[in-house]
Amino acid sequence: MELQTKGKVKTMENTPLMPEKDSSGLADAIDRILDKGLVINADITIDVAGVELLGIKIRAALASFETAAKYGLEFPSGTNIETAAWKDAMIEKEECPQCSKRVDREELLNTACPWCGWESAKAKKRKAMKVGAKIEVQ
């Protein structure tokens, strides 16, 4: 029961509420890249007849707004980073293994997914400990 893989958890309980997560596909691939962030660094030089004619130096980082904000990338001047959405981006999020919604990591790990009610092993352990303590008190 405890040793479930990500794929198995989906079919474990309340099956009718299960949105099927397509783990391959372009959308998912793009999600992944934007979420992890991509660094592209390049140094290119072009010499003509022994003379360095052109040198290109590229330092590029590609990421979603959320990831960019988290890793402190610089935004174009004039961007207002005091808005609620930016503050929200700084909270660490994780995808729920069951419903794939992105939710607050701490909440997902320590209590349950607020969307589908999925519980992590840690949350289950905590709950079990609480129940145990109550029984002892009684």
């Binding site: 040793l3 893989t5 992944r32």
Partner: protein
């Protein structure tokens, strides 16, 4: 029975690998005319995820704040061999995976 991340195949897995391992392209193209070195192009290109880039010490664009909590968390996390979810390395080792409950020494508990 422990299966290793069963559903991760295809594009996602491929991408993960490429991003995590990084891609380096080192190329020189030369065009000679007679004995004259006419055109020479050198390219050093590297492509990697943020985590890998940080690990191997790539330059980030100017103005990047390298002191945000996300940078500090990046190195401390390790993915679980069973479910693939990331958690703090010490937690994964000491208490088991908080996501799926995997523990490499379950007998002690």
């Amino acid at each position: 029975m422990v299966r290793l991340r069963p559903e991760e195949t295809g594009l996602k897995e491929l991408l993960d690998r490429i991003l995590d391992k990084g891609v380096a392209v080192d190329a020189i193209a030369r065009t000679d005319l007679g004995s004259l070195d006419l055109l020479r192009t050198k390219a050093h290109i590297i492509l990697a995820s943020f985590k890998t880039a940080d690990k191997i010490g790539l330059d980030f664009p100017e103005g990047t704040d390298l002191n945000t909590p996300a940078w500090q968390n990046l190195m401390r996390k390790q993915s679980c061999p069973v479910c693939g979810m990331e958690s703090r390395q010490e937690e994964l080792k000491e208490e088991g995976c908080p996501w799926c409950g995997w523990n490499y020494r379950p007998k002690e508990r």
